[in-house]
């Protein structure tokens, strides 16, 4: 629903829902301190609010609220089919936070979660315990910021720091923290580590402006990346998802040139490329909630339950990206989801 009156919607985080058993704890109180004017509503279980029927993700996204909870049951999951393993055999992910403060029009979270409210799980230690158990069996490659942007929340949660410290204690653990955050302050208390990869999603400024609301500009992201690399942090660049827009070759061409000009690509940890793709069930929900989104209403093709661009177009876009990047970075460091899917996660790269 489009609103002609901007005064209708309230600011974000005006309400914090807290599980009763956590409300008096230090962790919850520390987080709540960041929102002194928020109304605190006590709840029995986070799902009582998060899983209500009849919620509208798109509407809630305009005024996200916060839910503080403890996560029970399984806490670490094997990596999903639509995610890149980057050649790691033991690929897992975990969600210490559900949902993101940014508002990207193409984001799969709109189809995955019933609510746009942010859920912060306070029992990070339980997640560490589960990872420790996995580490007894084999090395672990763990993505901790898939369903959120932990670095964008660092000033409130410090979860990036806690995950980095946990990795330091466990040498067989490699962590990926995916982000669009460009505030160097978020890294202030985090030591650089070979075991922690900061995966920055990059898009042309035109795409970012149109489809990545509330995110830092391309220029800000590039400046942040450059500084982090100078300080020895491991950086991965994710040109994913690439979106099919009119003049995409011109726009993405100029974008790759700018990235190459600003960043020494041969010094990044690796690079991933991918086009927009989303599961059938998610896209159905996303389209219903946001019928005015050109990105979501694009007539994608359904290939084994995953909606994506027509095969020819997918290949054309990926080849375009590959051609633009391969002169600046060895091809074996360029990972493409298109090549990985359907194969075992065995480290094969796009040729």
């Amino acid at each position: 629903m489009k609103n002609s009156n901007d005064n209708y919607y309230d600011r974000a985080f005006t309400h914090i829902y807290v599980e009763k058993e956590l409300a008096s704890g230090t962790q919850a109180k520390d987080i709540m301190k960041h929102f002194p004017n928020a109304k605190i509503i006590l709840i029995d279980h986070y799902k009582d609010v998060f899983n209500r029927s009849g919620q509208n993700f798109h509407e809630q996204k305009k005024v996200r609220n916060l839910i503080l909870a403890n996560k029970k049951g399984k806490l670490v999951y094997p990596g999903a089919q639509v995610c890149q393993s980057f050649g790691n055999q033991h690929f897992y992910y975990t969600s210490s936070v559900m949902n993101c403060i940014y508002d990207c029009e193409y984001c799969y979270l709109q189809g995955m979660y019933p609510s746009a409210n942010l859920v912060v799980f306070l029992n990070l230690e339980d997640m560490f315990d589960e990872v420790r158990e996995l580490l007894k069996q084999h090395p672990v490659y763990l993505c901790v910021s898939y369903d959120t942007d932990l670095m964008a929340l660092e000033s409130i949660l410090s979860y990036g720091k806690r995950w980095a410290e946990f990795a330091k204690e466990n040498e067989k653990l490699t962590i990926e923290i995916r982000t669009k955050c460009a505030s160097l302050k978020a890294w202030e208390d985090i030591m650089p580590s070979k075991q922690v990869i900061y995966a920055f999603t990059l898009s042309p400024e035109e795409v970012s402006k149109a489809y990545e609301k509330r995110t830092p500009s391309l220029k800000q992201r590039l400046t942040c990346i450059k500084t982090l690399m100078e300080r020895d942090y491991q950086v991965r660049l994710c040109f994913d998802p690439m979106l099919y827009i009119s003049d995409y070759k011109k726009i993405y061409g100029a974008f790759f040139d700018e990235v190459k000009k600003e960043i020494a690509l041969n010094q990044v940890y690796d690079v991933s490329i991918g086009v927009f793709r989303v599961s059938e069930d998610y896209l159905k929900k996303m389209r219903k909630q946001n019928p005015k989104s050109a990105v979501l209403q694009f007539p994608y093709e359904n290939e084994n339950g995953v909606y994506q661009y027509q095969r020819e177009l997918t290949n054309e876009m990926l080849n375009f990206a590959m051609d633009a990047l391969k002169e600046s970075i060895p091809e074996e460091k360029i990972f493409s989801w298109e090549e990985e899917k359907g194969k075992e996660s065995n480290g094969k790269k796009r040729k």
Binding site: M1, N7, D10, I41, D48, G54, Q55, N56, K292
Partner: protein
Amino acid sequence: MLYISTALYCEAKPIILYFGLKKTDQFHKFQVFLGDDILVVITGVGEIAASVAISSICSVIPPEKGDFFLSFGSAGTVSKSLTLKEIYLLNKITQLSTNQTFYPDVLFRHPFREIQGVTGSRVLKEEIQALNQTQEESLFLYDMEGAASYISASYFFGTHQMAFLRILSDYGEKKDQREWLTPNQLTLMIEEKAHALFPFIEQMKEQARQKEQLLHTQTSEFLEQMEQLLCLSTSMKYILQQHLSYYLLLHDDLLDIIKWCDTHIPNSCKSKREGKIYFEELKRQLL
């Protein structure tokens, strides 16, 4: 449209007068008042009455996608720290009989203090013991319709399309009915808060007026024409509809595409196979 429910006529009276609503004789079991994009139903007291009235109204006049629901009425409390005659917005509603709790979204700006609501089936005085045993939080308003209104309305409205306002009318201490507020007193109490209540209702009404209509008439006609012309199957029609939806987000109308079809697509296709060739070509044009 904004749907408003109140238990009593005296609670709705100021709204009816202010918005110039007219009683409709379409409904015989409850009083219903209609006006420009606004509907008020007087449900009667209690959870069952509220449920029945809201469900009936919404079944006969089904809400559209952008419509809103407002439950308004009086409430009591056991907490003396809450101010009499103040309007509160409920951000959490617990049903005393089931101990189920509901959370309406509060996405909109509003001038009211927020509070938890508890809904019971008897008047406050008779429920005090049960409330003391079950309610951990001391600040709450007590009413007899809130939870049922939420449950019934949620069949027709999203969590972000509902709001629950209560005016605090008493502390539940009155010994017998003679000491209760008269309908006139309650109406006056609400009128005193008109400066906060009416702008809020106006705001919800305005919000409900914003409607979406993605697939307009021109598109439906074009789609039907192509279905016949190109011998489209159901799935092909769906694919073409998706292409048209996408095209219309990038262009104002279908005029260029219609022109293109006039020159590139014949008036009839000899076979499904021929139709498919033109269908593929049309899809490319729409991207």
